[in-house]
């Protein structure tokens, strides 16, 4: 389907694969951590498309000295715990690839190493048993991986220490010994000379985290104190991150009985005055939609996270898709001016979470914060300065103290829905003397009292809309700009596709402009950029082009579309080929 590029950046691609239950995830994570601690950039992907049948799982790492922001269709070193791991990755392996395996494992005895590749047969289980237990088999393999890449094993020691130190020094030392046994075996038995796979180290200090963790950390930084949620892939890791951490800052996490409850608990906490959040995926968003209308109508600040996965219905719960945009923009009965913010990188997930809380309180409104599976489960390195906590600013909006209540009261009654110039009303928290009021999903007057008065109805609808309009005019809504500003071809995208597109630009021969759009509602006006280009292509992970529709709606211009909905994220090389195909550029093979 897509052409392949041989002049990829100087990166290295590694994977460990086997059956579910083989400890693949934790093995991959340890190696990623070791690379990060060695001052290398890392980009991981956990979920290969299973092309034959279920049960197979793999953890892939792309690493380089320069930042890496996507996955590619290439594999240099593979630790294969099963024959199927090799079969599954045949199209990514290449002449010169190294396959580490245990020829003493019954299923691997007669395994065929493809031509022109190097099989490195290491008795993983036996060496692990010698070091203290067969369970350390995968760590022996990591040691072997150090040997074939010339990677200093002290970095692996450090990662093993981080992983196992809470379980005692003996376990750490056993694992470190197991790794050395694997390294030593390869050094003794194989004369490997593969300078192209040599993994250099640097003194850089990186942190390694995934999108769900970035959202969780952003929430705590933003002063979120209450989280209610119901477990759902791929959003659960947000709740798991917060649990045990938010308590240190005076907060609380509650696992609700369902998503209906989760959003209503978060609503209650927000009405009481806490910064509150819930996170879910598409099916949960469906359940929360009725209450979303209540949150908006009662003018309650709340952050609702949608970590999108493949739908509709149960769809492919562990696969990538960006199919929820329309439901976030339009879901629910009635008309609700709504805020939708979609970070485009893992680091941005942190900052946009902080901003989502500020927007929510500044405009007294629910804010949808949108991520996707690819971002949620990917671990990526960043310089720690990227998460500068001193740069976090909190804006609680028009929150009054007791002394200001009277100014906003009429005949002793507080006006929580006063129709102000910018639509934002004064807000008091329960417990404030004299501020008593009811909040309701019924249409209401300035006092919060139910009404069906025609002019009050119009005033209140207008004032809620006005908040949105003012936000559209006054918030920066900054677009992230890449490539050549004067280029004839303009790429537009949203969500986690940014990294793959940025890398694709580097692979293309001719200049292309790329705008990555994190604000979907209210959103920046892209009319000028679209009119300046001779060709506009909108890239997104869904079938119909929901963002492309939005661009056409806003700019009254037709756009081209590149869509992917097979459950797998865009890869830089396949995307470059697709763009080259559309633009009739030469494909630099």
């Amino acid at each position: 389907m897509f052409a392949r590029f041989d002049d990829m950046p100087a990166d290295f691609n590694w994977a460990v694969g086997g059956e579910a239950g083989d400890g693949i995830d934790s093995t991959g994570k340890i190696f990623a951590q070791a690379l990060s601690r060695a001052g290398r950039h890392v980009f991981t992907s956990k979920d290969f498309a299973s092309r034959i049948r279920g049960g197979y799982t793999a953890y892939k790492i792309r690493t380089a000295l320069e930042p890496v922001e996507s996955v590619v269709d290439r594999l240099d070193v593979l630790i294969a715990l099963t024959p199927r791991t090799i079969e599954e990755n045949l199209d990514e392996l290449h002449p010169g690839s190294i396959i580490i395996y245990d020829g003493e494992r019954t299923t691997m005895e007669n395994v065929t190493i493809p031509e022109e590749m190097l099989g490195v047969d290491v008795p993983l289980k036996r060496l692990a048993e010698d070091a203290g237990g067969a369970i350390m088999r995968n760590v022996v393999a990591l040691g072997a991986a150090c040997a074939v890449t010339g990677f200093p094993i002290e970095n692996l020691d450090s990662a093993l220490d981080k992983r196992f130190s809470s379980k005692g020094t003996v376990l750490v030392e056993n694992n470190q010994e197991a790794a050395r046994a694997g390294q030593q075996y390869v050094d003794d038995e194989y004369a490997i000379d593969t300078p192209e796979f040599h993994l250099e180290t640097t003194d850089a200090d990186y942190v390694l985290l995934n999108g769900d963790q970035a959202i969780g950390m952003g929430a705590i930084a933003a002063g979120c104190r209450f989280y209610a949620g119901y477990p759902i892939t791929p959003a659960t890791a947000v709740m798991e991150y917060l649990t045990g951490r938010i308590e240190r800052f005076g907060g609380h996490v509650l696992q609700a009985e369902d998503e209906l409850s989760a959003i209503n608990m978060a609503l209650g906490a927000a009405r009481a005055g806490a910064r509150a959040m819930t996170a879910t995926s598409g099916p949960g968003i469906d359940l929360m939609t009725e209450t979303f209308g209540l949150v908006a109508t009662s003018e309650t600040p709340l952050v609702i996270v949608d970590v999108m996965r493949s739908g509709p219905s149960t769809g492919m719960p562990t696969k990538q898709e960006q199919g929820d945009l329309n439901t976030l923009l339009y879901g629910g009965h009635g008309e609700v001016p709504r805020f939708v913010v979609a970070p485009t990188t893992i680091a941005e997930a942190f900052w946009k979470t902080v901003e989502a809380f500020n927007l929510a309180e500044r405009y007294q409104t629910p804010v949808y914060l949108v991520a996707d599976l690819a971002m949620a489960v990917t671990e990526q390195t960043f310089p720690h300065e990227v998460f500068d906590m001193d740069a976090v600013e909190i804006d609680r909006g028009r929150l009054l103290d007791a002394s200001e209540v009277e100014e906003w009261s009429i005949d002793g009654k507080f006006t929580p829905h006063a129709a102000t110039d910018n639509g934002v009303s004064p807000r008091v928290l329960p417990g404030t003397p004299g501020g008593v009021h009811m909040s309701t999903g019924l249409e209401h007057d300035a006092f919060g009292r139910r009404t069906e008065d025609t002019s009050v109805r119009v005033d209140q609808v207008d004032k809620r809309q006005r908040k949105y309009d003012v936000a559209g005019e006054t918030e920066s809504l900054e677009v992230r700009s890449f490539g050549a500003p004067e280029a004839e071809t303009l790429l537009l995208s949203w969500g986690s596709n940014e990294g793959a597109i940025v890398e694709a630009l580097e692979l293309l021969d001719e200049p292309v402009r790329f705008l990555s759009v994190p604000y979907l509602s209210p959103r920046p006006d892209l009319t000028a950029a679209v009119e300046d280009a001779t060709q506009v292509i909108v890239v997104e992970c869904n079938k119909t082009g929901q963002f492309a529709d939005l661009i056409e709606h806003d700019t009254l211009q037709r756009v081209e579309r590149i869509n992917k909905y097979d459950g797998v994220r865009f890869k830089a090389d396949e995307l470059a080929a697709a763009i080259a195909d559309r633009t009739q550029m030469e494909v630099p093979v």
Binding site: V207, L260, S261, A269, V392, I394, L429, G435
Partner: protein
């Protein structure tokens, strides 16, 4: 508070639109009396209501309030109480709100045992939508949507609460003002989830479960020497469907509320102007 709070301080100046004679008037009066009696203040009280005739109660009481979507009042109350444990949180709703659309939340709110109070105005009918069967309607109760009656046994909310590990289960009658108010007060003072099912007759659409019916058939367990801390005795009155009971049916004096268990005792409302102190440790964890 410097001035003493009277129960009328909890009354809003909005005129209720409940039908004249509706049980909800008595239910609400008892709630206001109980709140005043416990020393609660309207500024520090939060009422959560759902949808239905009962759901209007937030408009008629003077306190901070949220009138939410149908069936989700208990989760809202849970969030309010956890975010600010200093607030007195009272959740009120009807039998449809609590035992039909919100039944799932009821069971889990009971077992979670937050220190809050849940008042159900049980009139055994859907009144606001003009008379359809509710989950507590009798099996042969004829309505427009159930011409032969629901032909299902009515839900026993008391038994649901008991099975879910309830720590305070009571039933009152809206017009027995004194008993109703004192039992609601006990529910408020209970350290845990205080559940009070109130017979609150619908005078317009229910001609079976009427004031007259309850007056003639209600037994007050206090008159029978019932010990509410005796689990077996509580089980037997709660499971008895041949008789209508009033009183505190079950009370677990060893109840420890969710807040105490989880150490959630400080309001979450105050936050820093930047990231909280120690936030940089979160970044360091990712080295």
């Amino acid at each position: 508070m410097s001035t003493e709070i009277r129960f009328t301080d909890f009354k809003a100046d909005t005129q209720p639109t409940w039908c004249p004679g509706c049980g909800d008037f008595g239910t609400m009066n008892g709630m206001m009396k109980a709140l005043a009696e416990t020393g609660a203040h309207p500024d520090e009280t939060f009422i959560v209501a759902g949808i239905g005739c009962s759901g209007k109660i937030g408009s008629y009481m003077h306190a901070y309030a949220l009138h939410g979507v149908h069936g989700r009042a208990l989760p809202v109350g849970t969030g309010v109480k956890l975010a600010n444990p200093e607030l007195e949180v009272m959740v009120a709703g009807g039998d449809g709100d609590g035992f039909s659309i919100g039944a799932g939340h009821f069971v889990h709110a009971v077992r979670r045992n937050l220190d809050m109070t849940y008042i159900v105005m049980d009139n055994r009918i859907y009144g606001l939508t003009k008379g359809q069967a509710s989950p507590t309607s009798r099996a042969d109760f004829e309505t427009a949507t159930t011409p032969d009656g629901p032909q299902q046994p009515p839900v026993n909310p008391l038994a649901l609460a008991l099975a879910a590990g309830g720590t305070f289960i009571a039933q009152t009658f809206a017009t027995d003002a004194k008993r109703h108010a004192e039992i609601v007060q006990a529910a408020i003072e209970h350290d845990g989830f205080g559940f009070v099912n109130v017979f609150s007759p619908c005078v317009t659409f229910n001609d079976v479960d009427t004031y007259e019916y309850f007056r003639g058939n209600l037994v007050d367990v206090a008159d029978e020497g019932h010990d509410p801390t005796d689990y077996d005795a509580a089980t037997s009155v709660i499971m008895d469907r041949e008789q209508e009971y009033q009183g505190i049916l079950w009370r677990d004096d060893s109840s420890v509320s969710y807040h105490t268990q989880h150490g959630v005792t400080t309001p979450m409302t105050e936050i820093d102007e930047g990231a909280p102190e120690g936030a940089m440790d979160l970044v360091r964890e990712f080295y």
